[in-house]
Amino acid sequence: MNTKDIIIRRIILLAIVLLAWETLPRLGVINPLFIPPLSGVITALRELAGNGEMATHAAISLQRAALGFAAGAVLGLPLGLVLGGWFPRLQTALEPLMELFAQANPLILFHVIILFLGIGEAAKTFIIGWLCLWPVTFATITGVRTADPTLLKAARSLGLGRAGLFVRVTLPAAAPSIVTGLRLAAGYAFIMLIAAEMMGASSGLGWLVIQAQESYHITRIFAGAFVITLLAITADWLLKLLGGRFLSRVESGADDYVRMQGSAGKI
């Protein structure tokens, strides 16, 4: 099976799902009040896009998600590098505590944070940043800790010092894991963003969806969900592209596998 076949199969499957979305509510198999047909959602999307509402809310949401994600990454990366690379014992000691922080339910935590920071932007940035911090930190620690010891040995035999080893070997060896952590964090950022906007905001995509729900604009709920998904997928795709620099060079990468399968099919 070559790449072209895979793409064709994917398009066919997607078309079937979209077609079912359109026809099943129309035929009354699914209640159109709960799940409106695709065409209705598209109409709502065009309406929201036309009056500029969608762009305004998407922009503010994107800004919140990006700010929180950036805060989490900017703190998580050095934290992971320092704990994983320089203080492995401290890291081991801190692990249960960090695990607890990472697992603490962010929706409950958000209410506590609101008590301190109020209901404004600071609280939203904080909770998104908090949620992004842990996957980045853990992935960085794992990446640093699992750097191939034979690579370090080979580099050390050249008389490379600690700092040199870190920059030339440990960091590039950890890069694929770090990129995975960043992608996870970006996904979390969008989930938390919507939750935060639903709990306390007067703008943003989460607020738009809640508003639509309260006024029974079901098509608008789907339109909002569509834009949120699109933003999240785009963010992931961008990070993947950034990480592709490292990931494609690692052994048995999934993308390489697809390419190999493709060229084998042509022979």
């Binding site: 070997v169 890069a175 052994e251 390489d256």
Partner: protein, 292 residues
Amino acid sequence: MSNLAENIIPDQEPKIVIRNIGRTFHIKKSPAGPHDFVALQEISLEVQKGEFVALVGPSGCGKSTLLDILAGLAKPNSGAVFIDGKQVTGPALDRGIVLQGYALFPWRTVRQNVEFGLEIKKVAKGERREISTRFIDLVGLKGFEDRFPHELSGGMKQRVAIARALAYDPEVLLMDEPFAAVDAQTRETLQDELLRIWEETRKTIIFVTHSIEEAVFLADRVAVLTANPGTVREIVPIDLPRPRQNSDIRSSPEFGWTRHKIWELLQNQPPADHRAGEQRPVADAISPSAAL
């Protein structure tokens, strides 16, 4: 018979002097309770400039530990290593190391891997490129400069590792079971290639292996090590003609005889006072292929 060892002036200062090396590991957790494990005991060996010496022995005889000490990556508890009369205190660019697991940087191309040591040595970019081209040619990987390690076979990866170790021009090459992970046919090819490269570059090579055949085929002298504790049992000069690569020397009677002699050395136990209690035939610990 021409042998390199004979061409060396006897009173010349040896390139490498290993003097009374001892290395003990303290084992904290074991069924027998905490105890000391003597990995190396009173190891002494002198290696001449340009000589090819193989260290052969069963697993657990400390041959890899010895190589780490030579590389400066581990410290002995007693004794010292001298290269050109200077004591080894840590790793440096006068020694190149080739490991069994290739240890190529997966994010670097073949060329970038070969240039790694040169970057550390702060060689200018143009010169780096010239040197890496030369050594990639030397190991027969012309045309593969821009490939990544995961695109290469095991044998090709090991060629890259050899080129990388040679590129920054160390005088001594330390090789730790470099061909153990490749198939038998590739292994023989790599052995031929290594001898050709050695003759072209005139490096001093210390080569660790558990294969007697490999040691006999490659080396001027074979140091036979035994385990528990790791000691040099005997140093066997290999009086086989050179060049040995691309020849049928493996099937010659002399080759067979030398191989058998080393096999016997490994099988027969050293005097009993050295190894109280643990009477284990050393040959059992050697891989079956080594005794073939």
